[in-house]
């Protein structure tokens, strides 16, 4: 290919990228401007210390070292009051408590996998990402967000992860990019074109073409941030930095996103109001608040963020001031247009007889029913479409959107 042909090829590609999906199909108009971000806390976070059952004496008996104190205005290390039964971990006071007041956040306790009780991180993460029944054989090439993307119009999905997660595996090539350390690309346009040429007839052709397109969009978006940094603005780090970048990209480019955060497996010294878990939560809260700020008020009204984890932890603390693998968790739902400020879904008194196998929270709201209910409302999916995403599932309508 000579230079003139090359330029022509580049010119031909540019407009195509705007109107075709990664699968090469032209999409119709969207049903809504809805944006969905799923945040996966890998490692099974200790839900009972985030949404604190402050009215349960059993909670305080079970966690002599780990319990969060009942709400007390004079004690900054006490739970933030949500209602008579529930409080919020104090590490989330500054970042997320204001969202509760604005009704922009809701918590769904006793949520998780109703049919997977392996208590294995990896097995249960796979279960959730695949979103398939655990009965029968699994199709590891079909994640539920990938199936959801296939049902939507004008969808621009992306995983903000180093590797393409199971949840987005499927027929279409979904791009992935980790936003922690994005630099200026060294492979120039001419090389990019030659590389695309080499892959044109291979299975990776669309992955490579899509990769270059997303790379350029991300670099463009992050250029603004560099300018701000050059003006002396303090740059956030870690997950907060990534979440702010996600907010910016989802405001302008993408509307279906997935990101994961590790470090939640706390078998030892997890801490209580302060300590290891509190530090993780503080960063997560700042990240979510940062995402909200960057995506901006207009897009935030159409956005839903769901924070999930593979399972909860043992209700009683273990011998190492930590917690072991449990079952039911607490999911968070955030969004500018949310009917929030409440604890949603089926609930049960937090006491010893309510525990599943006398060790952990039961699952009363299945993750698939929860997501099915949410996306049905968000995107107006009909029953047949919903069945293609979550076969055999009856959606739970929690009235959140």
């Amino acid at each position: 290919m000579n230079r003139r042909d090359l330029l022509k090829a580049v010119a031909a590609l540019a407009p195509a990228a705007l109107t075709t999906t990664i699968a090469g199909r032209v999409w119709a108009a969207p049903a809504t401007d809805a944006k969905l971000l799923v945040v996966f806390l890998r490692g099974a976070y200790d839900a009972a210390n985030v949404l604190v059952p402050v009215s349960s004496s059993f909670y305080y008996e079970s966690r002599p070292n780990l319990a969060i104190a009942k709400p007390d205005v004079g004690n900054p290390n006490s739970a933030v009051v949500l209602d008579a039964d529930w409080g919020l971990h104090p590490a989330l006071r500054d970042s997320l408590a204001p969202l509760w007041t604005n009704r922009e956040i809701a918590f769904v306790p006793f949520a998780g996998t109703s049919d997977d009780t392996t208590r294995s991180h990896f097995e249960t993460q796979d279960t959730i990402e695949l979103g398939q029944s655990t009965k029968g054989s699994r199709d590891y090439r079909s994640g539920f967000m990938s199936r959801l993307a296939a049902e939507l119009t004008r969808v621009k999905p992306i995983a903000f992860t180093e590797q393409l997660p199971l949840i987005f595996r499927g027929q279409a090539e979904i791009p992935n990019i980790a936003l922690g350390n994005v630099g200026k690309p060294g492979v120039d346009d001419r090389q990019a074109e030659l590389i695309k040429q080499m892959y044109a007839k291979t299975k990776l052709a669309s992955a490579v073409a899509e990769g270059f397109r997303v790379r350029d969009e991300v670099v463009k978006s992050i250029a603004d941030e560099m300018t701000e940094a050059n003006r002396g603005a303090v740059s956030p780090r870690g997950f907060e930095l990534s979440a702010r970048r996600i907010g910016r990209l989802m405001r302008e480019q993408f509307n279906l996103g997935f990101v994961d955060v590790g470090g939640w497996d706390t078998h030892v010294n997890q801490g209580a109001a302060t300590g290891y878990l509190a530090d993780r939560l503080g960063e997560l809260g700042r990240a979510l608040a940062g995402f909200r700020e960057e995506i901006g008020p207009a897009a935030w009204r159409d956005s839903v963020v769901v924070v999930i984890s593979e399972f909860g932890r043992t209700f009683r603390e273990n011998g190492d001031r930590g917690t072991d693998h449990g079952h039911g968790s607490v999911y968070w739902v955030l969004g500018g247009g949310l009917n929030g400020g409440r604890i949603a879904g089926e609930q049960i008194k937090v006491a010893q007889p309510s525990l599943f196998e006398n060790r952990d929270y039961p699952v009363l709201t299945d993750y698939r029913a929860l997501f099915a209910g949410l996306v049905q409302r968000m995107y107006g999916l009909d029953a047949a479409a919903l069945q293609r995403v979550f076969a055999g599932v009856r959606p739970a309508d929690l009235g959140l959107v």
């Binding site: 290919m1 890998r42 490692g43 392996t118 208590r119 294995s120 991180h121 990896f122 097995e123 590891y140 090439r141 995983a159 992860t161 180093e162 590797q163 393409l164 595996r169 090539e173 979904i174 791009p175 992935n176 990019i177 980790a178 350390n181 690309p185 060294g186 492979v187 090389q191 990019a192 030659l194 590389i195 040429q197 080499m198 892959y199 044109a200 007839k201 291979t202 990776l204 992955a207 490579v208 899509e210 990769g211 270059f212 997303v214 790379r215 590790g262 470090g263 497996d265 078998h267 030892v268 273990n318 011998g319 190492d320 930590g322 072991d324 693998h325 196998e357």
Partner: protein, 526 residues
């Protein structure tokens, strides 16, 4: 074509250096010109990547003897002298003692106790730096061995088992322990008996710290390690064990932990003979639950550390373990979805040989399914495979003087050494590594490796100078074998390269370099 390309570049000033090296490499690997694509594929499948030296070694021995030496490397299978010299210069190359771990911990505690905030900060930073240096050295040692050890299959297996029995360097003082864990618990048993390997990991402080068994005691159970032994290390999830089995194994493992103190713990006279100590490893009978346990349908009488041996025997000899381990090996070497017939052959060898890893691998290599996979399947390289094979091919046995750029590349590609946070280890299948984001990073790294020495020949010292070096991918091996494995599309793109750097970048970015060599010339689209 060959002379033309070489001629075009030799006219360029920037390529003069490359030609000098080319002459040396060509001299050493003249025989590479005669290698068949099938032999290329076999070597590439069992090593960290094809290069002139490995081809020369293969041709000297012949296929059968070469495979046999890879499966059973001689005790004196020595590293090349410049590699050995770099490793010997590392402070913990000879092993880690409890006293050395103690000294490190004391340094950390001393730093914490300083009252002056500035001095405390400086001392803490120095302590963290010292820990970081140890992890970096461990990674460096690992990389040097992977690139240059003649016993290549043992190095592949070392990485495989390190991943199978994963630990994460960021927890506690693990940065200090990972190098010793790799060298003495993993590499030493990488081609030996699986049971010995499992026991070596169980007795290493890195594992006991990482999966929290150091805190597991009677009345203060911590199930973490017990669960992962069965789920990840041996039988596999869904193989029939129950939550009750996990709790029973956790009780069996009470008292299995770490002790860095020189003196023995104070024990009642009746318990004293039960104490087991070995370096930093300790079985403390005072922390053990002596009740009888029911484990995998067997009764294990409360008897101390003997319970652990009894339980491990049950696990290792469970047919699920032979299947689980064989499936994982076949996935790593053969295909994302290895045929069950192959796994069964390997599992049979596992059972017949009491878990002899070399025999399981021999069964795999001898199976027709393995040979078929050389011809038809594409084994996509994971990031470690990708980076190591690129550096091996680009520099052959010219030993790099600094592995930090390699460590950085692996980290960016999401497969850094000792950096997998979770105990499942990095995924082995292609789908985890061939997404758009990963491919973009690979092309960037291809450019860095292909454009010059990339810091690989600049020793990590304050005033060190970069030694002259240039990656030479268009070498005798390329013309004598690899070029025949490229599609016409790839060759067409390579023909448009405007410099040796550009050619290298494109070659390392090519679809053919993302997978292990195939034992057939490419199928050209008509």
């Amino acid at each position: 074509m060959r002379t033309n390309t070489a001629g075009r570049w030799s006219a360029r000033g920037s390529a003069i250096l490359g030609i000098g090296i080319a002459a040396i490499i060509t001299g050493g690997t003249a025989r590479a010109a005669e290698i068949s694509v099938h032999d290329l594929a076999l070597i590439d499948r069992l090593t960290w990547g094809i290069n002139g030296s490995s081809v020369a070694q293969f041709q000297k021995l012949g296929a059968a003897r070469w495979v046999d030496q890879q499966l059973h490397p001689a005790a004196d299978s020595a590293l090349p002298q410049p590699v050995a010299a770099q490793i010997d210069a590392m402070p913990d190359a000879a092993g880690l003692t409890p006293a050395a771990i103690n000294a490190f911990q004391a340094q950390g505690k001393d730093a914490d106790q300083l009252t002056d905030p500035e001095a405390r900060k400086t001392a803490k930073q120095a302590y963290q730096q010292a820990l970081n240096d140890r992890a970096k050295q461990a990674a460096s040692r690992s990389i040097l061995r992977a690139l240059y050890a003649p016993a290549q299959l043992r190095e592949r297996m070392t990485w495989f088992w390190l991943n199978h029995f994963n630990v994460h360097q960021s927890k506690a003082e693990l940065r200090l322990l990972v190098g010793d864990y790799e060298d003495r618990a993993i590499r030493a048993h990488a081609l030996g008996k699986f049971g010995d390997l499992l026991r070596a990991t169980l007795r290493h402080p890195a594992m006991l710290r990482y999966l929290d068994n150091a805190g597991n005691a009677n009345g203060h159970l911590n199930e973490n390690y017990a669960r992962e032994i069965m789920e990840l290390h041996t039988m596999g999830v869904g193989s029939g064990y129950t939550q009750a089995d996990v709790e029973a194994l956790a009780k069996i493992l009470t008292g299995v932990g770490i002790d860095l103190k020189p003196e023995d713990p104070k024990l009642k006279p009746a318990l004293a003979p039960q104490l087991v100590r070995d370096g930093a490893f300790e079985f403390n009978p005072a922390r053990h639950d002596y009740s009888d346990k029911t484990f995998l349908g067997h009764t294990i009488r409360g008897s101390g550390f003997a319970e652990v041996d009894e339980a491990l025997d049950l696990i290792v000899h469970n047919p699920a373990t032979a299947q689980h381990v064989s499936r994982k090996l076949a996935t790593y070497f053969v295909s994302d979805e290895p045929p069950q017939s192959l796994i069964d052959k390997m599992a049979k060898a596992f059972t017949a040989s009491d878990g002899d890893i070399a025999q399981v691998l021999a069964a795999m290599i001898a199976a027709p399914e393995f040979d078929a996979s050389l011809k038809t399947a594409e084994r996509f390289k994971d990031p470690v495979g990708y980076v190591y094979s690129a550096v091996r091919l680009a520099y052959d046995d010219k030993v790099v003087l600094n592995t930090v750029p390699i460590q950085r590349w692996l980290g960016r590609l999401g497969e850094g050494l000792y950096q997998r946070q979770t105990p499942d280890g990095y995924p082995l299948t292609a789908t985890a590594w061939n997404g758009p984001g990963q491919m973009m990073l690979r092309f960037e790294i291809a450019r860095q490796i292909g454009s010059g020495s990339a810091g690989l020949f600049k020793p990590e010292q304050a005033d060190a100078k970069d030694r002259p070096a240039f990656p030479l991918l268009q070498n005798a091996l390329y013309f004598g074998g690899l070029s025949r494995t490229l599609s016409s599309t790839t060759r067409g793109a390579l023909d448009q390269a405007i410099s040796p750097q550009d050619w290298n970048t494109l070659f390392l970015s090519s679809p053919e370099f993302m997978v292990r060599q195939r034992a057939e010339a490419p199928h050209e689209p008509s």
